[in-house]
């Protein structure tokens, strides 16, 4: 592999009941997907607070994926509806804070969809590669007047 190529770092928050099992299945069925993804297991996709996402970006992630059960299949009945609403809000907030909202992706992966998991990971890595690295620092506190 060309070592100069930008390799994004992507944090994936996976729900315990569907998406993490889906990722497991992808592994068991030997699906190939890029190694740019760092999986974090959470009990429900709605457990992911905007704080976690902002913190991920701040700590150097180039993209964040939130994956949960398909709508209607949530282990906690309506957790993923909360995730839909929270993600909508979060994207608005990201836009205002100057982070491209497309760096955050919400996907539904069930425990039987190992193939879909691998596909989503591949797509997302490609997309983030096209976007380039997320550069958050660069603004000095003081700055000369721009004429």
């Amino acid at each position: 592999m060309d070592s100069d190529e930008f390799e994004p770092e992507i944090i994936a928050f996976l729900c315990n009941w569907c998406s993490y099992a889906g990722a497991d299945l992808a592994g068991v069925s030997r699906e190939q997907y890029p190694s740019n993804i760092l999986n974090i297991r959470v009990m429900c996709s709605s457990r992911v607070s905007p704080e976690h996402v902002f913190e991920s970006f701040q700590e150097g992630a180039d993209g964040v994926l939130i994956a949960g059960c398909h709508p209607g299949d949530c282990h906690y009945i309506d957790g993923n509806y909360k995730t839909i609403r929270k993600t909508w809000l979060l994207k608005k907030m990201m836009d205002d804070m100057g982070i491209d909202p497309d760096r955050l992706r919400l996907e539904w992966v069930s425990s039987a969809e190992g193939g879909k998991f691998a596909k989503v990971m591949e797509e997302m890595t490609d997309e983030i590669k096209k976007m380039g690295p997320l550069e958050l620092d660069g603004n000095d506190l003081s700055g000369e007047y721009d004429e």
Partner: protein, 325 residues
């Protein structure tokens, strides 16, 4: 005896002046304060000059209250100078603790703010403020504006945080004696409540689902019922409650001026989580993802409302340049 008395001072950075008035808001308790302490530095009420501060000895002031946001180079310099001259620093008011209302300026960059302020259609198309302007009599100097507002804590070491916009008499009645007394130990974050405004709010909350948010004037308002339950954005769930909820008591929604609850960094994120849980419609199982999202579109300016007083102390702090506009 004079020597037993503590020396205290008040200074304002980029502020509205409300924090200065709030010190007088404690009424006759100010007499107890001046019995225990001499106010040696207070630009709002006295007439000190920069030189007077430079001439002070190190640690001359025992307790220094700094309010206001760090907006100009001058604010930063004075904060750094006062850190040398004071034994203990209190970040007083939401502006110095969390960046405050002025912190919303962090959603624009310095250039945008200056152009908006100095060359819109309503003002003459003129020059932006210059650091040095030459006139016949000599050079006129202005302090430079910083790129974004930061909480006082990021500029200097702060010993105590006392948020509020402004801090209320009941907060000061508790805080001032404790801060002036050497035997009482107060931790840096001890003046921030770990209870939210909802915890101290007298309104009845049923924790029911709401279909979306509405401006308060469009709601048939019941002054006894929880404001959020009635579909009006109230920052109560995410805001520290040392104020004892005076606003919601008179049916005004909480705007979040106290900043986040103790040990929480990001007030807006917490509020977003709360809103996502509170909003919901009947039969959403049959709705598409887009339709569920539409229920959220009733929230106007989510970032501005949820970070109204705490953007500079949030995780992101200010707008970055990832998006080309």
């Amino acid at each position: 005896m004079m020597s037993d008395k503590k020396k205290i001072g008040f200074y304002w950075c980029g502020a509205c002046g409300g924090c200065q008035v709030s010190i007088l808001d404690i009424d006759e308790m100010i007499l107890d304060v001046v019995e225990q302490a001499d106010i040696v530095f207070w630009p709002c009420a006295m007439d000190p000059k920069y030189e007077d501060v430079y001439e002070m000895d190190e640690d001359e002031i025992d307790l220094m209250f700094i309010n206001g946001s760090i907006r100009l180079e001058e604010n930063k310099e004075m904060a750094e100078l006062l850190r040398e001259k004071a034994k203990e620093i209190v970040a007083y008011g939401s502006c110095s603790v969390n960046g405050g209302l002025f912190g919303l300026g962090n959603l624009s960059d310095k250039k945008e703010l200056l152009e908006r302020g100095y060359s819109t259609k309503t003002t003459d198309e003129g020059s932006l403020p210059q650091k040095v302007t030459e006139v016949e009599e000599g050079d006129l100097k202005l302090p430079e504006m910083l790129h974004h507002i930061v909480p006082l804590e990021e500029i200097i070491d702060v010993d105590y945080l006392l948020p509020g916009c402004p801090p209320l008499p009941n907060q000061l009645e508790e805080a001032l004696p404790a801060l002036l007394d050497d035997d009482t130990e107060v931790g840096k974050h001890d003046l921030i409540s770990s209870k939210s405004v909802c915890d101290v709010c007298p309104m009845e909350r049923e924790e029911k689902k709401i279909e979306g948010l509405k401006p308060i004037q469009e709601v048939e308002f019941d002054p006894e019922e929880c404001i959020l339950d009635q579909g009006v954005l109230c920052m109560g769930p995410a805001t520290a409650g040392m104020c004892d909820a005076p606003c919601t008591e008179v049916a005004h929604p909480c705007v979040g001026c106290n900043g986040p609850v103790k040990d929480v960094k990001d007030q807006g994120s917490r509020m977003a989580s709360a809103l996502a849980s509170v909003i919901g419609v009947e039969g959403e199982e049959k709705m598409s993802e887009e339709e569920v999202q539409e229920t959220m579109e009733s929230i106007r300016d989510p970032t501005g409302s949820m970070y109204m007083f705490s953007l500079p102390s949030s995780i992101m702090q200010y707008r970055r340049g990832d998006i080309d506009e």
